[in-house]
Symmetry: C2
């Protein structure tokens, strides 16, 4: 049995009644796939109460982006969470906050933006200049509304993860951020709500993305020249928006201090832009 | 006896030892005058502990503004607060947090900005486009660091007051904002650290600012035509950056819902830009 709230007022009433329970938050835009479910599962393991939010946040979509088209599948989402809830300990609770309107999150007249600065303007930010300000602003709101102790995010949106960690650090927000591994389908494609935009042939094409990242990972792990490979890929294939090897801690060029690399990419299959990344420890043998 | 802290570490240690005391915050950039002292006094009346912060915030100065020139007078400031502390109840405590470097407030790598949006771009914001983002960001930091229950601001910077109130509302920050009346010298000039930039003749000229506001207040209170007067003033005297009568709640044009007007102005005397305002209830007789 899960509890579902569609107004902030009802959610607040529920939240205020919680006492010393340890609370995990899984913020989502709905259209849940196994990646989301893995976050919810982890949160139920680590917390007494798991709050799943389902909110398609208008602030993180640019004027010409897919806000209207973004899949809204609340009934299916609730069914998936309910099915999962049957498998967990009876002591654990799952509450879903799925605001019925934008005003539940952004009351009339709301005008404030939180921006973590330069790192929001690179990679995804270079093509979506206000996207991450929208993400940090909604995540701040969700942190405030839920007063959760831990929040769970997927490594798939690695830049988003780093930006949220930066906001939490700079603003001294009292919450832990847990980043969970990417969940992939049998062929290796990272799960994403946007995969459903792909035609059959585009879906096949899209496998170039994970396959290329795996290839680079192998080159790095075996200490071969990955740089020439990457520059050849970028030269010969215009479907890549970017493909870079960076320090996973700050998405800057790797330095002597780098502990872990991230191979990060955005790739266009048809009109759909897909993201993926792989982490590689620097001293991988 | 006042307590003085120059590092966040020492201040945190002090703050963490406070238990159920009611805490007031008076954020300042130092160079204290009677306006600031009136805020500190009010806070000591209403709280067990008053925290005065003294920090010339680099983020609220534009590249060509007076950050370097801004008067830094810590010894005199501490002497004034100490003198005041002698006059208050022995049960009341005053702590001063005067960070010795910018890193105490903005640790290495800090990059986050809080912006409350359109109202930061009008009036003072139109000539100082990043000023209010700097103000809200430092005030947020000070709220977080001090965990105060009430913060005191002067009505002189009326736009700043409204912007801070807006941030607190939008971000659901658990603090009360008290706005205290403008303190003036015998001739009517609103006290400001920037007044000391004025030569004797500029100081005399500067009185045009409060005198014009008082004249407009009288026209409003006696239900005479103030609009023609204001437009004549602006037409004939280029020293006014702006002079407007607005709804004091949002600094928009007055509407049928307006409860209180604010006559708000920026005036240049020599190279110094001075601010002033007067509040007028709408149903003033």
């Amino acid at each position: 049995m899960i509890k579902v709230f569609t107004t902030k007022k009802d959610f607040d009433h529920y939240r205020n009644a919680l006492k010393s329970e340890k609370i995990g938050l899984v913020p989502t835009m709905g259209n849940l796939h196994k990646g989301h479910i893995s976050l919810i599962e982890k949160s139920t393991e680590e917390n007494d109460v798991t709050i799943v939010t389902i909110f398609v946040n208008p602030k993180q979509f640019g004027p010409n982006e897919d806000f209207d088209k973004y899949p809204r599948t609340l009934d299916e989402d609730l069914a998936k969470i309910s099915a999962m809830a049957l498998l967990i300990s009876a002591q654990k609770e799952i509450a879903v906050f799925a605001p019925g309107s934008n005003e539940e999150i952004y009351p009339q007249g709301f005008s404030t933006t939180i921006s973590v600065g330069p790192m929001t303007q690179k990679f995804e930010g270079s093509v979506r200049p206000t996207h991450f300000d929208g993400v940090t602003t909604v995540v701040y709101r969700l942190f405030t509304i839920t007063r959760a102790h831990i929040a769970y995010f997927g490594q798939k949106d690695v830049q988003q993860c780093l930006i949220i960690k930066k906001m939490v650090k700079d603003l001294d927000i009292k919450i832990k951020i847990h980043i969970m591994p990417i969940v992939r389908n049998a062929e290796g494609l990272a799960l994403s709500s946007r995969n459903q935009y792909l035609s059959e042939s585009e879906r096949a094409e899209a496998l170039t993305l994970p396959q290329t990242l795996v290839k680079i990972e192998k080159l790095i792990r075996t200490k071969q020249d990955y740089k020439t490979f990457v520059s050849d890929v970028l030269k010969n294939d215009k479907r890549w928006d970017y493909l870079e090897i960076l320090d996973s801690d700050n998405m800057e060029a790797p330095s002597a201090k780098t502990q872990e690399l991230v191979i990060v990419a955005a790739f266009r299959s048809g009109t759909t832009r897909l993201l993926d990344n792989i982490l590689v420890p620097v001293h991988a043998g």
